[in-house]
């Protein structure tokens, strides 16, 4: 069946109208998986048997005439840092290659109640530390639009699965851009909601003050629908915040009005911003102006400071969160030693990859008594300054339009794994929302001449997801969905 041309709401309607069964839909998705997965490698674990059972269950319920929630019977993927009881949750690490959690993450509990069909656990950068999914201890994931290129990361498996039709939707997690950046490089829609809007409970912690779960979908309304399902106050996540709207979908469809969109000129003057990326963003800007938005130049000065601040805070928090993977409590225990210290040393040396070790060491360094003031505290100050800068802008703007990455997807293996190189700086556009806790929506802006997707980012004040969806829906309605990789190749 042709599920690729349908959005989530249409799939839900089709299931209820009995145009097709969940079993048919799920088998079609797995047919796509069988075809593309050997090349794309979006998953670490496929849950075909579970998926088929879930699909049959939904079909049975539907034939009983039961009313089911919107995602019932629709196949989707979860990033492999989201705990799924009874299904291994590896975090793409050798350390947890065999780890089967006893509990469900809050989001997975919601989605199980929704009766969604789980296709599998998507590949990612190890412990979500990376931006190309190349730090996965299992395998690399390839970009469906050009399989010689990276899908981005860390939620690269989730993005590639949605882009290639190996899932109808996916969840990712976003610490510094890990939902938005792979979504951009794979031509799909990715939302990082207001910090706390989706419970983090049961999603392996990388950096608690930055981690957010985000929906990854083909279309803007799919994304709003998914956020509607996921945004629930969780009293067992101390940072959880209650949503302020009944329906993000409805807000996406509200009248466009005359929003004020900020245009951060300094972002577009950066040397490494590729010309075709810049051109696509300018076209988007002009489109918004043409439908009634007021474009105002805004002055943002903190982008470079964000980069340093982000890496210090995320690595400091990550260092602390990662220490439980010591071979004693969690993680594969090395045979290489008998003393406690030896067990720690060998288990961590063998179980963790280079990028994770690098971040642990950075965080460990930034937090020593000697360095705390120069690094951690300074980074915390940067965070406050950035927050103030954006709050000031949002007194007059409804949203800011920025690039997501400076370039489209780059070739596999082309970025050296060295800190301080170009590798991290490509991340910077996604960092301010992470540091400020403000929502940011990524959607496709178009494609480059070589057929690679380019994303754009709409940043808004806290709880402005509805407004961001409205802006994005207007663009998507006028431009249509990005052609799928299959369509591009055809």
């Amino acid at each position: 069946m042709d599920y690729r041309s349908m959005q989530l709401q249409q799939l839900a309607d089709g299931l209820r109208a009995r145009d097709f069964s969940s079993r048919e839909l799920t088998e079609s998705v797995f047919a796509a998986i069988d075809k593309t997965e050997p090349v794309v490698g979006a998953y670490i674990t496929l849950t075909r048997d579970i998926a088929m059972k879930q699909a049959d269950r939904v079909d049975a319920l539907l034939s009983e005439g039961r009313e089911l929630p919107p995602l019932a019977g629709i196949p989707g993927a979860l990033k492999d840092n989201i705990a799924t009881a009874g299904i291994r949750t590896t975090n793409a690490s050798r350390m947890l290659a065999d780890f089967v959690p006893p509990n469900d993450a809050f989001v997975w509990r919601i989605l199980r109640q929704q009766e969604m069909v789980l296709t599998g656990k998507a590949n990612m950068d190890e412990f979500a530390m990376g931006h190309s999914t190349e730090t996965s201890a299992f395998h690399r994931t390839r970009n469906p639009y050009d399989t010689s290129r990276v899908p981005g990361g860390s939620s690269g498996g989730s993005a590639a699965a949605v882009a290639s039709g190996e899932a109808c939707f996916a969840l990712g997690s976003d610490t510094g851009g890990s939902v938005r950046q792979p979504a951009a490089l794979c031509g799909i829609v990715g939302m990082r909601p207001t910090y706390g809007l989706i419970s983090r409970r049961g999603v392996t912690t990388f950096s608690s003050s930055l981690d957010q779960i985000g929906p990854m979908t083909r279309s803007v309304r799919d994304n709003a629908l998914l956020l509607d399902v996921l945004a629930f106050f969780d009293e067992k996540d101390a940072q959880s915040v209650a949503r302020r709207t009944d329906s993000f979908v409805r807000e996406a469809d509200a009248p466009f009005g005359q929003p004020v969109i900020g245009w951060p000129q300094s972002y577009f003057e950066l040397n490494d911003l590729r010309g075709d990326v810049k051109a696509l963003l300018e076209k988007a800007r002009d489109f918004y102006a043409s439908i009634g938005a007021r474009i105002v130049p805004v002055d943002l000065k903190t982008l470079d400071a964000c980069l340093a601040g982000y890496y210090i805070i995320s690595s400091a928090e990550g260092f602390s969160s990662m220490n439980r993977f010591d071979g004693i409590h969690y993680g594969r225990r090395s045979d290489g030693g008998n003393s406690l210290e030896d067990i720690y040393f060998h288990s961590r040396s063998e179980g963790l990859g280079t990028e994770v070790k690098r971040r642990i060491l950075l965080g460990c360094y930034a937090l020593t008594q000697e360095n705390y003031g120069d690094y951690y505290l300074k980074a915390a100050k940067v965070r406050t300054i950035v927050k103030r800068e954006f709050e000031a802008i949002f007194r007059t703007c409804d949203a800011i339009l920025t690039p997501v990455t400076a370039t489209p997807a780059w070739p596999l293996g082309s970025h050296p794994e060295e800190m301080g190189g170009g590798k991290y700086s490509n991340d910077r556009f996604t960092l301010p929302p992470s540091l400020t806790g403000m929502p940011a929506l990524e959607l496709p802006a178009g494609m480059t001449g070589e057929g690679l997707p380019v994303g754009m980012q709409l940043i808004g004040p806290r709880f402005s997801e509805g407004a961001l969806y409205r802006l994005a829906a207007a663009f998507e309605d006028a431009h249509g969905l990005l052609p799928t990789p299959e369509e591009v190749k055809a």
Binding site: T205, S208, D326, H329
Partner: protein, 476 residues
């Protein structure tokens, strides 16, 4: 120079295990003595992605402790992570309050001889306990039941100057946690644990010496012995041109000595930083006031009242208020007697161990003890009868007045009744009379004993003695 020329400067860090129903950051039970790893959940086991949520009861307990020790209750406080690797710590960090503790700048007063001395408290903060390692010949097992059980750490200024003051301070804190009901304060079960920071200096000097920390002492007696032995060790070093190393030591209960554990150079860097999983703790004035009115009057206040109104000595008041139940018992009993001092001596002599040694039940009721005090105070019964009745009361409660009547135990204070008995006693004990007359005062005892025996112990012994003396004087 000798030991007398030095003084110890002592600061104490006391860990109080709170008796909240649930752990500090999850909903697991805190009950003591459950089978290993039966009171655990993803949060206290540190499952990847598990998130702590503060149990507000812990904050209430901390505020109670703060109010009871005259602290400032901070409207803003915050939790930090203290990072270190150890098998009893699944998260590899302890959630504690490093930079912004919930209570600051308090004090408690302890009796030091005739006077009260103030031991200042620099801060009280909330934190979580770690698990327990169980070592076997063939390996080590981890019991995580205690992981996440809430603790208060009460940190004093270096104000205590002797083992006695340190122990008096600890007794005060134990009384405080029991008065406020935030902990059972049992040292033997680890509900109260103590680290001692000790340095020595010559008396009259201002500057502090090099400080040594003695970790994890679990009885008042051991605290006193650890302080005394460490004091001697340090003075000895100073007297013999040695240097005191800033280090952590442990107290060995068998030898009564302290032993080095690790020096400052090897001290861990805990890489403290604010715990990003938790939000800051905010406390309003209304909450503080509500808690203030809910906690009972503390030992200090009661003690002052007792010396003022009942004319008890400072020592008696201090002893009585050491335990809240005992103090409550006294307060009820005292309304049943006109003789508070008599009541207090009964309580302190025979009943206090029942409270302080945590025996299950105190069988005697406060009103019975009040009546008994009246019987004694009014000379209705003599002290030996009093002791006899009290002994019975500690088995089973009854009305002492009815008992005295029923068993005809009333003291004979009537000269007319005693006259013939005294006469017979002097006659029957001619030898003792002779000894007494030759200057042997103690010989009188035999004659008094005779009177007591003849009256089944009911004669007023003081009156009997007077009458015996009178009779002998008259006859000779």
């Amino acid at each position: 120079m000798s030991l007398q020329d030095y003084e110890s400067v002592i600061g104490l860090e006391v860990h109080v295990e709170l008796n909240t129903k649930h752990k500090a950051f999850c909903e697991c039970s805190t009950a003591f003595g459950a089978p290993p790893n039966s009171q655990v959940c993803p949060v206290c086991l540190a499952m990847p992605g598990a998130l702590p949520v503060l149990n507000r009861e812990v904050v209430d307990s901390a505020i109670k402790a703060g109010i009871a020790t005259h602290c400032t209750i901070e409207h803003f406080s915050r939790f930090d992570r203290k990072n270190y690797f150890y098998p009893d710590l699944p998260k590899a960090y302890q959630i504690t309050q490093n930079d912004f503790p919930i209570c600051t700048n308090g004090y408690v007063e302890v009796a030091a001889g005739e006077n009260l001395r103030r031991i200042r408290i620099s801060q009280i903060h909330m934190e979580e306990d770690a698990g327990k390692l169980i070592h076997h010949a063939d390996g080590t097992e981890i019991d995580c039941n205690r992981c996440g059980v809430p603790l208060l750490e009460i940190v004093s200024e270096p104000d205590a100057r002797s083992a006695e003051e340190a122990v008096a301070y600890l007794r005060k804190l134990r009384a405080m946690v029991r008065y406020t009901g935030i902990s059972d304060g049992r040292m033997n079960e680890g509900s109260l644990r103590c680290d001692v920071n000790l340095s020595v200096r010559k008396k009259g000097e201002e500057a502090f010496g090099t400080r040594v920390e003695i970790k994890n002492i679990n009885s008042f007696n051991f605290v006193a012995r650890a302080i005394e032995s460490e004091f001697k060790r340090q003075v000895d070093l100073l007297e013999n041109d040695g240097t005191i190393v800033q280090e952590t030591r442990r107290f060995d209960e068998k030898s009564g000595q302290t032993y080095a554990m690790r020096s400052k150079e090897n001290a861990a860097d805990y890489r403290y930083f604010p715990d990003p999983d938790l939000v800051p703790v905010r406390v309003t004035d209304e909450e503080i006031e509500e808690i203030r009115t809910s906690i009972p009057r503390m030992a200090d206040e009661r003690s002052a009242f007792y010396t003022d109104v009942y004319k008890l000595t400072a020592y008696e008041a201090e002893r009585l208020t050491e335990d809240k139940e005992m103090s409550d018992f006294f307060e009820t009993a005292v309304s049943h007697t006109r003789y508070p001092k008599t009541l207090v001596s009964l309580i302190l002599a025979d009943i206090s161990p029942l409270f302080t040694e945590e025996m299950a039940e105190v069988p005697v009721s406060p009103s019975s003890l009040g009546s008994l005090s009246d019987l004694l105070g009014d000379d209705e019964i003599n002290s030996s009868t009093g002791r006899r009745i009290l002994k019975e009361l500690l088995v089973k409660d009854f009305d002492p007045v009815a008992y005295v009547k029923e068993h005809e135990l009333a003291q004979i204070n009537d000269r007319g009744v005693l006259q013939p008995v005294v006469g017979a006693a002097v006659e029957a004990n001619a030898r003792a009379v002779k000894d007494f007359l030759s200057g042997k005062e103690t010989a009188l005892r035999a004659i008094i004993g005779f009177v007591m025996k003849q009256t089944q112990g009911r004669a007023n012994p003081v009156l009997a003695e007077t009458m015996i003396r009178e009779l002998i004087a008259k006859a000779n």
